[in-house]
C-alpha cells in the first residue's frame, strides 16, 4: 500500500522564479492538503483540494496556487519566489467525502531553498 509520495525531494530556486511541487496521495484517498513548515515550527495549512477544486484555504497569498487532477494527484505552484518561501512543503492526503474528522497522512515533503 503506497503512502503519500512527493517530488522532488529537494529544490533550489532564486528569488522571483516560480516552482511546481507534486504530490500523489495514499491509495484510496481523494483529498489532498498542502502545508508549509518553516524550520523549527509546526506545519501551516496552505490549502486543500477535493474533487479537483480548492475547498479550504489558509492565510497564504495568491502567489500560492494549486491544482488537483482526476487521479487525485496534486500540484502546488508558487510564483515570484521570496526568500521567506524557503521551507519544507508537505502534502497530506485523506478521505474527504465523509467530511471532517479524518486523519491526514503526510508525505516526506519537498525541501525548497530560495537563494
Amino acid at each position: 500500500d503506497a503512502g503519500v509520495t512527493q517530488s522532488p525531494t529537494h529544490l533550489i530556486k532564486t528569488r522571483g522564479q516560480q516552482v511546481t511541487l507534486r504530490c500523489s496521495p495514499k491509495s484510496g484517498h481523494d483529498t489532498v492538503s498542502w502545508y508549509q513548515q518553516a524550520l523549527g515550527q509546526g506545519p501551516q495549512f496552505i490549502f486543500q483540494y477535493y474533487e479537483e477544486e480548492e475547498r479550504q484555504r489558509g492565510n497564504f497569498p495568491d502567489r500560492f496556487s494549486g491544482h488537483q487532477f482526476p487521479n487525485y494527484s496534486s500540484e502546488l505552484n508558487v510564483n515570484a519566489l521570496l526568500l521567506g518561501d524557503s521551507a519544507l512543503y508537505l502534502c497530506a492526503s485523506s478521505l474527504g467525502a465523509t467530511g471532517n474528522n479524518q486523519p491526514q497522512h503526510f508525505g516526506d515533503g519537498t525541501r525548497l531553498s530560495i537563494l
Binding site: 483529498t31 495549512f45 471532517n100 474528522n101
Partner: protein
C-alpha cells in the same frame, strides 16, 4: 484567537519510562485532535486521533486523553524506546462548517529525547 500550543519544548525521558506530552488549545469549537510524530528529514507520521465525543483513546503503547473542560490534550507513551525520539505535534480542527473541514492547526511541537 485560535491556537494550539505545547507546554514543554523539550522532554527528556529515560528508556523504559512512560512519557507524557501535553498540549493546550484555545478554540472551544475544536472537535477533532491528532498527534503526529516527526523524525528528522521526514514528514509527520500519524500516531493517534480522538474526537470530541471521547475522553480517552488507546493505541499500541500510546494513549490520548482529552479534557474539554480545560481545553487540554495529552499523549502518553508507555515504555519509551530510543525509536520514540522525535518531535511530537498535536493538531486540531473543527468541523462546524464545511469551510473548516480538514484545516489542521498545529502547535510548535515538543522534542522528545530518549536517554539510555
Amino acid at each position: 484567537g485560535e491556537s494550539v500550543g505545547l507546554h514543554l519544548p523539550t522532554l527528556s525521558v529515560q528508556e523504559g519510562d512512560n512519557s507524557i506530552i501535553n498540549c493546550a488549545y484555545s478554540n472551544s469549537a475544536s472537535d477533532y485532535f491528532i498527534w503526529y510524530k516527526q523524525e528528522s528529514g521526514k514528514g509527520p507520521q500519524f500516531i493517534i486521533d480522538i474526537r470530541s465525543n471521547m475522553d480517552k483513546r488507546q493505541g499500541q503503547r500510546v494513549t490520548v486523553l482529552l479534557n474539554k473542560t480545560v481545553k487540554h490534550l495529552s499523549l502518553q507513551i508507555a515504555a519509551t524506546q530510543p525509536g520514540d525520539s522525535a518531535v511530537y505535534f498535536c493538531a486540531e480542527s473543527h468541523g462546524a462548517t464545511t469551510d473548516s473541514w480538514g484545516k489542521l492547526q498545529f502547535g510548535a511541537g515538543t522534542q522528545v529525547v530518549v536517554t539510555p
